[in-house]
């Protein structure tokens, strides 16, 4: 492994960039589309340099129209292309929501399986960067409720690289939520490795006392929580879900059967969030194993607040530790 030249240390954003580059190189049908993705390389520079190398017809600066971006991507997919579209920020996906929900998600079923929709919708999401309104939201549950869509969110550079490869290769539409506050976090990426299945959760820290489940930006937080809890002699297991839909309940179950306690952490509002789904399923599957109710830590039933309040709104170390303590106290 030491002299493995295929391993690179990359920031998460750069890992996606390299993954897109690889996809553009290997499959002439792959296209990158979105606002400012060309010369600027996207507002987060995730597509930096791609237009320079692949040209304006493969890395397409689109008009400022999200419904148009997704709607035309659907048309291109119908024609055999594999568009990877960028929505600039989470809060701006809604003009495209109609196209995603009523068209992109349903085309395969509507055509009795005759039509494939290999479209990836990339959405930088989540808070913690001090932005103004509509730049910090976590709308994954709004999409997970819709059948026909796959929803994934990597938490680290290696997953970002490989999950993007897999998302592009998928014949189903994939909503690819990128944890924008982790864009600059570096990690090892082995570009020759054989990746695990796209929808398989991963134990990122083994433990025996309680399971923390998270995805995307909250995985790192949960690792920090586990480290802090370890100092107090608590041995937490951390599961990185990686995929919200489909969701790897088997892995959650396996972990919970071992630890008997579960805390779910996400940035999105708790009410009707993905944690609710996990709590319900795991209660059903692990009723006799659970020593405590499944607890959830997440956002409030309130608009995402202005930047100066986001630390209060977002799950932080203390809030998760508090939930851990409460679960352990049962």
């Amino acid at each position: 492994m030491a002299d493995n030249v295929t391993t690179k240390n990359l920031a998460l954003a750069k890992a996606i960039n390299e993954s897109l580059r690889r996809a553009l190189e290997t499959d002439p049908k792959v296209l990158v589309m979105g606002e400012d993705v060309g010369k600027l390389g996207g507002v987060f520079r995730v597509t930096d340099g791609l237009q320079k190398d692949f040209g304006e017809s493969r890395v397409i600066d689109t008009p400022l129209a999200e419904s148009g971006i997704v709607g035309t991507a659907i048309g291109m997919a119908l024609r055999g292309y594999r568009p990877v579209v960028e929505i600039q920020f989470d809060g701006f996906v809604f003009p495209a929501y109609d196209q995603i929900v009523t068209q992109l998600a349903k085309m395969h079923a509507r055509s009795l399986g005759k039509v494939k929709m290999p479209v990836v919708v990339r959405i930088p999401y989540g808070g913690g960067i001090g932005a103004v309104e509509h730049h910090s939201e976590s709308p994954e549950a709004l999409f997970a409720h819709v059948s026909g869509l796959k929803i994934v969110s990597p938490s680290n550079a290696s997953d970002a690289y490989w999950m993007m490869q897999q998302a592009i290769q998928s014949d189903d539409p994939v909503i690819f939520f990128e944890p924008k506050r982790r864009y600059w976090d570096k990690g090892e990426v082995n570009t020759e490795a054989i990746p695990g299945p796209l929808h398989k959760a991963q134990v990122v820290r083994e433990g025996t006392d309680l399971t923390l489940v998270a995805y995307g930006p909250m995985v790192k937080l949960c690792q920090e929580v586990a480290a802090a809890a370890a100092e107090e002699g608590k041995n937490l297991e951390v599961l990185d879900l990686r995929s919200v839909s489909p969701m790897d309940f088997d892995s959650i179950q396996t972990s919970v059967e071992k630890t008997r306690r579960l805390v779910v952490v996400h940035e999105a509002p708790v009410f009707f969030g993905s944690g609710a789904e996990i709590a319900a399923r795991i209660t059903e599957r692990c009723f006799y194993h659970l020593e405590a109710p499944v607890l959830r830590v997440g956002g409030y039933h309130a608009p995402y607040p202005p930047a100066r309040l986001e630390e209060e709104y977002l799950p932080g170390l203390d809030r998760v530790l508090d939930a851990v303590d409460r679960a352990l106290a049962y």
Binding site: E35, V132, P269, V270, L309, P315, L317, R319
Partner: protein
């Protein structure tokens, strides 16, 4: 159809067309076969000279009554707005604001149109309309709350008939249209104006607002500030025809005005507002101008545009233009400029101090105003939040720690 063939048909940009004067370059191309006359309505040249031509003949009457004092007022508005904007930009650099969207270069478009409005007219801005807000009497410091991150708006839109800034591109044009439909239903003679950018013109919402306003003959003026760029994308990435011509397809007039000419913006907006008041329905005004700075303070324009372009537009600076005119017409003396300079500095200082003194919001603000009627879940989460805070207060003196709610 292949993507290659699409690419082959893409609009060809002749070199330098972005920098091509007051729109002649582009309008010539779009109006192929027509004369090369600029389609701009202009009353004041970049040298500050009053002009009369066929294109502006219809509009001069709307500024016929403008006095030297009015002109000085417009000048003052533009200078103070620019000063405010510059202060906000430096406050962002000093870490006092999280972000700033500068209006540098767009003062004439905003002050000209803003001063055309009556108090009972209603304004729907995007997020860059600091000059229009100024004309409406909104305290400039109120505009800074959302950029500092202490609120998501910060003023009562009904206080000055100036709606909250809208960040989702194009949304407000529909609100303006609906508001205008309401004005018409009420039988009032006030008008509504919606601001948006050239990029926004691509949004479905904007197209739908054109449709609704035309069909219902709504008294709304669509004021598009074509500042040539939507972040990194030039107007060519949004449209193949000059934007004002879009209106024709919807059945209402569109006009392109020199957006760096405050007098022309005043005249054309007055004309459009008068149409609205007279029950003649919507108008599209395209103010052809230039964003001299970055899109926002997080943008890096060096990645996508050349310095020369900005330089060519600096020659058309809206403030300089009016100053030249005032000086040439002997409408001012040195005292005027000196006083204005002092007033500017005072404004800068006031803004700076107000921003630094702006407190962080109370933590419970998260739960305020989520519903007009209240909501059991919000109450429950607020209570959890409070209990969690208390637990920290008793545990240590480390001050406030993160809340618990949402569990």
């Amino acid at each position: 159809m292949t993507v290659e063939s699409t690419a082959a048909r893409k609009p060809r940009r002749s070199a330098g067309s972005k920098a091509g004067g007051t729109g002649t370059g582009r309008t010539t191309r779009a109006g192929a076969g027509k004369s090369a006359e600029p389609e701009l309505v202009q009353l004041l040249t970049p040298e500050g000279k009053r002009v009369k031509n066929a294109k502006n003949a219809e509009f001069v009457q709307y500024v016929a009554g403008v006095t030297p004092e009015d002109l000085r007022g417009l000048y003052r508005d533009m200078v103070l707005t620019r000063r405010f904007d510059a202060e906000a930009t430096s406050l962002q650099r000093q870490g006092e604001l999280g972000l700033w969207a500068s209006l540098l270069g767009q003062e004439a478009a905003q002050i000209g149109s803003g001063r055309a409005l009556r108090d009972d007219d209603y304004v729907f801005p995007t997020y860059r309309e600091h000059g229009v807000a100024w004309c409406r009497g909104v305290d400039p410091t109120n505009l800074l709350g959302m950029f500092r991150g202490v609120n998501n708006g910060g003023w009562d839109p009904n206080g000055n008939n100036f709606h909250l800034y809208t960040i989702v591109i194009g949304s407000q044009t529909l609100h303006a249209t609906g508001y205008a439909m309401g004005v018409a239903m009420d039988g009032a003679d006030s008008a509504v104006i919606a601001y948006f950018g050239d990029g926004a013109s691509s949004q479905g919402d904007v197209a739908e607002s054109f449709t609704f306003s035309a069909v219902y003959n709504a008294p709304v003026v669509f004021f598009c500030q074509n500042n040539q760029w939507a972040i990194s994308e030039p107007t060519e990435k949004q449209t193949r025809v000059p934007l004002y011509q879009r209106a024709q397809g919807y059945g209402f007039p569109g006009v392109r005005v020199d957006g760096n000419d405050v007098l022309a913006c005043l005249a054309v907006t007055r004309w459009a507002l008068e149409r609205a008041r007279n029950g003649e329905g919507p108008t599209l005004v395209e103010a052809y101008t230039y964003r001299m700075g970055a899109h926002t303070t997080s943008d890096d324009p060096t990645k996508y545009r050349a310095d020369e372009e900005r330089e060519s537009w600096e020659a058309k600076d809206p403030i300089l233009r009016l100053r030249r005119h005032l000086e040439a017409s002997n409408h001012t003396d040195e005292g005027f400029f000196a006083e204005l300079e002092a007033e500017s500095e005072a404004l800068g200082r006031r803004v700076r101090e107000a921003v630094r003194a702006m407190p962080d919001p109370d933590h419970f603000a998260i739960f305020e105003n989520v519903y007009a009627d209240g909501h059991a879940l919000v109450d429950e989460e607020r209570a959890q939040f409070a209990a969690y805070q208390e637990s920290f207060a008793t545990e240590s003196d480390s001050g406030f720690a993160a809340g618990t709610g949402g569990n």
